[in-house]
């Protein structure tokens, strides 16, 4: 709390420079002749211009970050943003001695003359230094005599308090009652303009479908509306589309652009993220369910805090994992990585929800907006407790509960928590376990008829059945034993290792340090009369001791590169038990083969060992720690309380971990967490974990080698609502930090949030926001054309619509402003050529995703399958390092799933799909709040010749030929599908001429390239 207050104070005394040199007041000096006065005036004007045009920009560019009122603290007390500043100078004294550059500290500093006074660090250009010298030489003319003026930080449209303006009383176009039309009409009328008439039924149906669901209507849909173009029919259509599951598929894409969601890391190791898709599914489901905006914010930032029991919603955190991940810097430059990766999360979160470029304050206070460096680093601190990577979750909350229960028991066992271990449920578990462990298992030696080394070691069996290796000591070895036990069934195998005088360090291994590595164990039963053996599945392994990182489970994981080891417990006997998945009945003549693979290398081989089997019931055979075995050996009545607790802890841990192993495997989502698995390419993962949130420091000039004070979590101080959620910042834990930011963002008082949400929706409905920089509402962003309308919509969306996006869409698309024609008109075009006043709707080209879906749709091949792993429209092969090679060119479009909607496409950040890229699918290395729309010869080539277009052109022709035999009718049908209208006779004739020579598919290809197909009017 203190911290926040201090920062708030610091902010208020901070000032923003206002340049107001409009009036040039030149005071003639007394006693000077009139003629000279004129000359003097001219000279002063010249000096003034010189200063403001040439000198001041240099000071502003290179010095103001630290030496002006707008910097957070005026460094060394030297301000260069007004005359008195440099006259009185800073800690080192007067900065400028007019007419004496050589005596002026400022000049010496920029010339880097003194080793201790080199300013700025990056030396100015010689030309700039020359200009400064010239200025000082000429008397250092500077008319900035008044101290830079305070500017109210919230004196900017997007930061002003959010009050709902009253709806202008104007006569609306088409007698609309929609408030949007009133606001737009008021502005139009001021400019002497008016709305355009309504778009034609065909245009509006096509526009609405593509806008709300991203798919075209059928010609029947168009015809129906042409029959009944009433408001009621229109509204029914709107409701139907908003209720369609296709809606979420369309609008999820917009949000994914906004937050640069893609399914690979980017950078050098552009590794795929095969578990990123659950976030996409979360988005589609949430948008279709019309979750209110505040809920969407809270879930995406901290669903684990708000809804810990709704584990199926955990993929919401995929929001924070949307961006890039530099695996290389993560591995080799960890400090750099932390700041850069958190920057990615901060930038994205602030741009997406509050249209703020907080990241501009990384190196210095934001140059244009009221955002301090402390604000920025406080936002970094919000995310300093999480890492990006795959996080496990249970989509089924019942399983999640069970997992939680068992983990709590495991944890209690680890902590020897009496209250839990002595509770009734735990005691029942303990009793049952003790029952099953009353009688220790008896083991029967596998009496081998043969035992061989694959690599030439000599194996000798002594009287006790212990096999000792000697002679050749190869790098790796495989021992194969074949024999019988005399048992009628077996449930487990025991491997005993023994120290032996012949072994280095007395063994039990043959490595110089006495260690060994058992890579894999295989057991096979051969029954009489059967030519092939039956491999036995091993379910669980336990050992009396596991070397750190070389646990016994590694001997049964099917991976020859991992193994069990016993270092540093050398020179001692050890045991390992391998429990079979199911008991196996043995015929008397059955033989058993045991294979012990030791493939690690470096002669990590077994030196002395014995193999035996048991028929005892599971799980009593598992190896127990020595202290547990000792406790069990004591009569029950003789056990002390601490021994009972020890046994209870062991029993509970055994039972709980057994049950945990039987739970279904967790699902994975690429998101953020304290403990994650980072995709590292070629199917490999790197474990990453953050125990406690890392300390975040303010970095001077954004440089990691210049850390200043530690900064606790927080948000923008200029909007000081919800600061109590950060109040306990010192003790704040993960995920409270993220939740605190979510509270700040979703707060009804956050004026940016609500303005941002409505403007972003508007952007997609009109091709342009009321503020045309949807992710930047700062002073460098666009100036809104209708600020009152944004405010009215923001309050309406927050209060009346309860944050419902679907209600907002409905309000917008039912307005006349939305429904009006997009054709240009000469008169308004002369006044407002950019259509900022919305005298018509904007037309646009289909974006890449809509184009692709449109093609699939008209080809009759669109597959509506929803959800699940993304479809890869490329062939993947191993690359030079962890990034694979992707081959888009030879992809077979007959592959199942390839005709699903574009939202299910696997988007590889660094290796884009050439067709999609040609159609302006954005580079998702950065946030993409607005897609560009270009036309180029390369785009034309892609549209004509890309295999996707050619394949589905053929598919469309095949589909039409199946349902219609008459060639002229076929042409009519393809035109109906692509253009949603009947072709004219002339058009049919021209097209028939082409079709008769080159076939229907060729026409389909042409139509998919046509402007009437690609443009949305």
């Amino acid at each position: 709390m203190f911290n926040q207050t201090r920062r708030w104070y610091a902010f208020n005394i901070r000032v923003l420079l206002v340049f107001c040199f409009i009036a040039l007041s030149i005071v003639p000096c007394p006693g000077i002749e009139l003629a000279d006065e004129v000359d003097d005036a001219t000279e002063k004007e010249r000096q003034l211009n010189f200063f403001h045009e040439q000198v001041e920009p240099i000071l502003a560019r290179h010095c103001y970050d630290c030496h002006s009122h707008r910097s957070q603290s005026i460094e060394s007390g030297l301000a260069l943003d007004w005359r008195s500043g440099w006259e009185s100078g800073g800690a080192r004294g007067k900065a400028i001695v007019p007419s004496k550059p050589e005596e002026s500290l400022l000049i010496r500093a920029v010339q880097h003359q003194d080793a201790k006074l080199k300013m700025p660090e990056e030396k100015l250009a010689d030309s700039e230094i020359e200009l400064l010298i010239r200025w000082v030489q000429g008397g250092a003319y500077d008319d900035r005599v008044s101290e830079p003026k305070l500017e109210e930080p919230r004196d900017w449209w997007s930061l002003k308090p959010l009050d709902q303006p009253s709806i202008p009383a104007v006569k609306n176009a088409d007698e609309s009652n929609n408030p949007i039309d009133a606001f737009v009409s008021a502005k139009l009328q001021q400019a002497g303009l008016s709305h355009s008439p309504a778009a034609s039924p065909r245009e509006i149906v096509r526009r609405l479908y593509l806008d709300l669901i991203g798919l075209p209507p059928t010609i029947e849909d168009v015809a129906a509306f042409e029959q009944d173009p009433s408001d009621a029919a229109y509204e029914a259509m709107v409701d139907r589309l908003l209720a369609s599951e296709r809606y979420g598929e369309r609008w999820a894409r917009h949000w994914m652009d906004t937050i640069h969601f893609a399914e690979s890391h980017g950078y050098e190791h552009d590794v795929g993220r095969d578990h990123a898709w659950p976030y996409r599914d979360y988005l589609i489901r949430s948008l279709n369910a019309d979750k209110d905006w505040a809920t969407l914010i809270r879930e995406q930032l901290a669903v684990d805090y708000y809804k810990p029991d709704a584990t199926d919603l955990l993929p919401a955190l995929g929001f924070l994992g949307a961006g890039t991940f530099d695996l290389s810097t993560y591995s080799t430059g960890p400090v750099t990585f932390d700041y850069i990766d958190r920057d990615d999360m901060v930038t994205q979160t602030m741009a997406a929800f509050v249209s703020t470029t907080a990241n501009c304050a990384r190196c210095h206070a934001h140059k244009f907006d009221p955002i301090t460096q402390e604000d920025y680093y406080s936002l970094q601190a919000v995310f300093s407790g999480v890492l990006k990577g795959d996080v496990g979750y249970d989509a089924d909350s019942a399983i999640a509960n069970e997992r939680r229960r068992l983990n709590r028991l495991l944890d209690a066992a680890r902590r020897r928590d009496k209250s839990i271990l002595q509770s009734d449920p735990a005691q029942q578990m303990v009793a049952k376990w003790l029952q099953s462990h009353r009688d220790p298992a008896t083991w029967s030696e596998l009496r081998p008829v043969s035992f061989v080394s694959s690599d030439g070691a000599t194996l000798t069996r002594d009287d006790n059945g212990v096999i000792v290796a000697s002679g050749a000591n190869p790098e790796t070895d495989i021992y194969t034993l074949t024999g019988q036990t005399g048992l009628k069934k077996i449930t487990a195998l025991q491997l005993e290792l023994f120290p032996h005088d012949s072994l280095p360090m007395k063994g039990p291994g043959r490595c110089q340090n006495g260690n060994l590595h058992l890579s894999e164990v295989a057991i096979t039963v051969f029954s009489a009369g059967k030519s092939s053996g039956e491999p036995l599945k091993i379910a669980r392994a336990s050992a009396d001791f596991n070397q750190e990182g070389w646990g016994i489970e590694r001997a049964i994981d099917g991976n020859a590169k991992t193994a069990w080891g016993i270092f540093p417990e050398i020179g001692k006997p050890h045991q390992a038990v391998f429990e079979l998945a199911e008991p196996i009945a043995l015929t008397p003549d059955a033989t058993i083969t045991v294979v012990l693979k030791q493939l690690h290398g470096g002669s990590h081989l077994i030196g002395a060992f014995r193999v035996s089997m048991t028929d005892a019931a599971l799980p009593s055979v598992a190896i127990m720690p020595a202290d547990v075995r000792a406790a069990l050996a004591i009569e029950e009545t003789q056990r002390t309380e601490s021994l009972n607790l020890l046994l209870a802890a062991h029993a509970v841990a055994e039972v709980a971990s057994g049950q945990l192993q039987r739970l279904p495997e967790q699902s994975q989502v690429y998101a953020v967490g304290k403990s994650v698995q980072i995709p590292a390419g070629n199917g490999k993962y790197q474990a990453g974990a953050i125990a406690e949130p890392k300390k975040v420091h303010l970095l001077q000039r954004g440089q990691i080698d210049k850390p200043k004070q530690e900064i606790p979590p927080g948000a923008l101080v200029v909007l000081d609502h919800a600061r109590q959620s950060f109040a306990v910042s010192e003790s704040m834990t993960e995920p409270m930090r993220r939740a605190a930011l979510a509270e700040w963002l979703s707060h009804r008082e956050n004026v940016l949030t609500w303005r941002s949400a409505v403007n972003r929706a508007w952007h997609y409905h009109f091709g342009r926001g009321l503020c045309d920089t949807p992710s930047d509402f700062g002073r460098m962003g666009g100036v809104p054309s209708h600020p009152e309308l944004i405010d009215w919509l923001a309050v309406w969306f927050r209060d009346s619509a309860g944050g419902s996006m679907k209600q907002l869409h409905r309000l917008i698309v039912t307005s006349h402003t939305y429904r009006q024609a997009s054709a240009t008109r000469e008169e308004p075009a002369g006044v407002d050529s950019e259509n900022r006043l919305l005298w018509r709707q904007n037309s646009h080209r289909l974006d890449a995703d809509a184009f692709r879906d449109f093609v699939l749709s008209v080809s009759g091949k669109l597959d509506f399958t929803m959800y699940g792993p993304s479809v890869q429209h490329f062939k993947q092969s191993p690359g030079p390092q962890s990034t694979p090679n992707l081959d888009y060119a030879t992809y077979d479009w007959n592959t199942p799933g390839s005709n699903r909607r574009s939202i299910y496409r696997y988007v590889w950040r660094g290796i884009p799909d050439p067709l999609m890229a040609a159609l302006d699918f954005p580079d998702l290395g950065l946030l993409s709040p607005v897609r560009s729309e270009s036309a180029s010869p390369l785009q034309a080539l892609a549209l004509m010749n890309n295999s996707f277009v050619l394949h589905f052109g053929q598919a469309m022709a095949d589909d039409v030929v199946k349902i219609e035999a008459d060639p002229a009718m076929q042409v009519k049908i393809v035109v109906q599908r692509c253009w949603l209208r009947e072709p004219s006779e002339g058009e049919v004739k021209t097209m028939m001429a082409h079709v008769s020579e080159f076939g229907l598919a060729s026409l389909c290809r042409v139509l998919m390239n046509s402007s009437e197909f690609l443009m949305v009017q």
């Binding site: 950078y267 050098e268 430059g333 920089t773 580079d923 060729s1002």
Partner: protein
């Protein structure tokens, strides 16, 4: 195009050119019409952005916004050595390393971005000799380039902000450590447009063995329109440009005749549609884009056909020998493209990864020479060829890499990443031949004198192209983005006049 419509377009264009820079056009509030118009300016035969911007005598205001002077350079070939080419084993002779060889003098803690702790000081395993009248020291790995040092200008103290390949390669191409920013080639395409309608403006020739670090990120247009991204061409593939023609082996219906007739039908349909939607410049722009596509179809195959070059040329570029074949082919292709009006060509040496590039962690003595061999002769041939054809009069060639390497051994024979100092050379139009600017310390570890950053290199290249790097900006998420971020100084010391 009907006449009224065409007049309207002309009027719009003239007004636009009279009052707006290309950048303002694109950003004219982000309006779509403006975008299309700007792109049309870049590609429309009647009014090319290249003419608009580079013809300072003309009456366009656009030129004044960006152009500083009449440009010396019209086209650029960027040779990029993937992995961090070692300076102290190539161009930056450090006798001090011989004296200190074997001593543990490096940083005790592993610096950020090093892949291992620093080992002992390691001298170069290669002998150095002085070459040319300028007496430049060059190691034995570059015997052919050594003969041309008098024509090159060297930046001997380049430095960067990172020791990691991904961010480093981004930085040397886009000026930023992060993905998503336009690279130099894209900015040049954006600012100047094309020199020819027949070929793409910005072409990328990656190593046949794979893409460099960041995949296509270093050829990206970032937040600029996608038109400006580098077009990747696999020099060894049969089809010159991707999707230049339909693949008839898969799609039998898309014959050359069907494509031709289809294009005519399309243009008729689209023309009619444009006429019915008068005043929409984007529709005209779409029409133009297909016309230009047809032109490319006519010209591109010839441009990529190396069989038209003489045996002697093939030999001089090293196409007859396995080690130089791939890089040589791409250098030769680069020359053919530059000659035919491609504005910017990137030629990459080496893919990403642990082998076959300049990232010689394991053993400088065995890993560096094959890389040096693969590029040395082709580069020398390229420079001589450009000169003999007079292309050096308006072509700039840049040789660079993402960072240098440590003077300390990694293991006992390799060198680790080092952003402290590395070498770049420039050659061709506008370059002062034989100069050297900047100096690294006695070990070649850090740049100490006249340090230059990618910002300065980029500012200089833009300057040579007639572009003021301070004025070439695009507003993106609250910042007027430049290729040179908030830095950059034109290195006049290496420029002719």
């Amino acid at each position: 195009m009907n006449s009224q419509n065409s007049k309207q377009i002309d009027r719009v264009q003239n007004e636009a050119v009279a009052s707006l820079s290309r950048r303002q056009l694109l950003l004219g509030g982000g309006s779509l019409a403006c975008l299309a118009l700007a792109d049309m300016l870049a590609s429309n035969g009647s009014l090319r952005a290249s003419e608009v911007v580079s013809d300072v005598q003309g009456d366009s205001q656009a030129s004044k916004a960006v152009v500083t002077r009449s440009p010396k350079v019209k086209r650029v070939i960027q040779l990029f050595m993937t992995g961090g080419a070692s300076p102290m084993d190539t161009f930056d002779y450090k006798p001090e390393l011989e004296r200190l060889h074997g001593q543990m003098l490096g940083p005790k803690d592993k610096p950020e971005g090093f892949t291992a702790p620093a080992g002992a000081i390691m001298k170069s395993p290669f002998p150095f000799q002085q070459h040319g009248e300028t007496g430049r020291w060059v190691s034995s790995v570059f015997p052919e380039q050594a003969k041309l040092v008098d024509e090159m200008a060297f930046l001997m103290a380049m430095t960067t902000k990172t020791n990691v390949h991904g961010p480093g390669t981004y930085m040397m191409n886009s000026g930023f450590l992060l993905p998503g920013f336009p690279c130099l080639g894209a900015w040049v395409s954006y600012a100047l447009g094309n020199l020819t309608d027949n070929l793409p403006t910005f072409v990328v020739l990656p190593d046949a063995r794979g893409l460099p670090y960041n995949q296509k990120g270093c050829f990206s247009a970032g937040f600029l329109p996608s038109t400006h991204e580098g077009l990747v061409i696999q020099a060894s593939s049969k089809t010159a440009l991707p999707d230049l023609f339909a693949d008839q082996s898969k799609f039998g219906y898309a014959t050359a005749e069907a494509s031709q007739d289809g294009l005519e039908l399309l243009q008729a349909i689209n023309g009619k549609f444009a006429g019915a939607h008068g005043g929409d410049a984007r529709l005209e722009s779409r029409l133009a884009s297909y016309e230009l596509a047809a032109k490319m179809q006519l010209s591109a195959p010839e441009a990529f056909d190396l069989s038209q070059e003489s045996q002697e040329t093939h030999r001089s570029y090293g196409l007859d020998q396995a080690p130089t074949e791939d890089f040589g082919r791409r250098c030769l292709l680069a020359r053919r493209m530059i000659e035919r009006g491609v504005r910017f060509v990137q030629v990459w040496s080496g893919p990403q990864g642990a082998v076959n590039n300049w990232d010689n962690h394991g053993n400088i003595q065995t890993e560096l020479p094959p890389m040096a061999l693969s590029v040395d002769r082709p580069i020398a041939a390229l420079l001589r060829d450009l000169k003999s054809r007079g292309l050096d009069q308006d072509t700039l060639v840049i040789w660079t890499t993402e960072f240098g390497r440590t003077p300390f051994a990694q293991g006992s024979l390799g060198r680790d990443h080092n952003g402290g100092s590395f070498v770049t050379w420039l050659w061709g139009a506008g370059v002062k031949p034989g100069v050297s600017y900047g100096q690294s310390d006695d070990w070649g570890y850090q740049a100490v004198e006249n340090k230059t950053w990618c910002y300065d290199l980029h500012a200089t290249i833009l300057h040579m192209l007639g572009i003021d790097h301070l004025k070439l900006t695009v507003r993106q998420n609250g910042i007027d983005r430049r290729l040179t971020d908030v830095h950059g100084r034109v290195i006049h010391e290496i420029l002719n006049s």
